[in-house]
């Protein structure tokens, strides 16, 4: 399976600031996704990162708050903008490799964000 890295691994930020999280894959992948896991909760999909076009956001998530880039098939960024303590979560990227109609999704190591 693809090797996925995320940077930073963790960060502590002040409210009102922004943080950009990077997701790098060691091979080209067809699909990349960004998830959030709030404390004590399960994973929730934020958006699908589309290569060369605007991301597709899930209900409750907007581009102004979570702008996403995907300039190529191996890299994506998620920015958490104008942060508040409610944004304290683990942010995870996942990838789906090219292949048949049913492909496993693998997750990166995650970024633990704390907003003070």
């Amino acid at each position: 399976s693809a090797v996925i890295s995320q940077k930073p691994s963790r960060d502590i930020c002040q409210r009102g600031t922004s943080l950009t999280i990077q997701c790098q894959v060691d091979s080209q992948v067809t699909m990349m996704f960004w998830y959030r896991q709030q404390p004590g909760q399960s994973l929730t999909l934020i958006a699908t990162a589309n290569q060369g076009s605007e991301a597709t956001y899930e209900s409750g998530f907007v581009i102004d708050k979570f702008p996403i880039s995907r300039p190529n098939l191996t890299f994506s960024t998620l920015t958490v903008s104008n942060m508040s303590p409610e944004d304290s979560s683990i942010y995870l990227c996942s990838v789906e490799e090219a292949g048949g109609p049913f492909n496993e999704q693998f997750f990166g190591p995650g970024t633990r964000l704390t907003v003070l």
């Binding site: 399976s1 996704f33 909760q41 699908t48 995870l92 496993e104 999704q105 997750f107 990166g108 633990r112």
Partner: protein
């Protein structure tokens, strides 16, 4: 509304015990069901199930899907302390998006 329900929410067992984790789902655009193990931050992929009645195995772990009754189980035999984790079940819908259940917290005591 589509959803995934896992049970039990948590359990504590002793090393060597066998455990069965349950996942039921209600979804209109089902493609596949996936199981993950989460120990710290990153969920680790365990299984992906697309067809009913076909058991998938990996060492002491196995899983099966029943698409008629809309559930899946994850079995762990001869549990070890290293199996202690949160086990997540998710279905994949069209668009390849994953919808997760709340997870089952498993603690294996030595």
């Amino acid at each position: 509304e589509d959803k995934v329900v896992q049970s039990p929410l948590s359990l504590v067992v002793h090393e060597g015990d066998t455990v069965t984790l349950n996942c039921s789902y209600e979804v209109t655009n089902f493609r596949s069901l996936l199981w993950y193990k989460q120990e710290k931050k990153a969920p680790t992929f365990l299984f992906m199930l697309t067809s009913s009645g076909i058991e998938k195995k990996s060492g002491r772990l196995s899983s099966i899907l029943d698409k008629k009754e809309l559930f899946s189980i994850l079995n762990i035999t001869a549990t070890q302390t290293g199996d202690s984790a949160v086990y997540l079940c998710a279905y994949m819908e069209y668009g390849n998006k994953l919808v997760f259940g709340a997870g089952t917290i498993l603690r294996v005591k030595s």
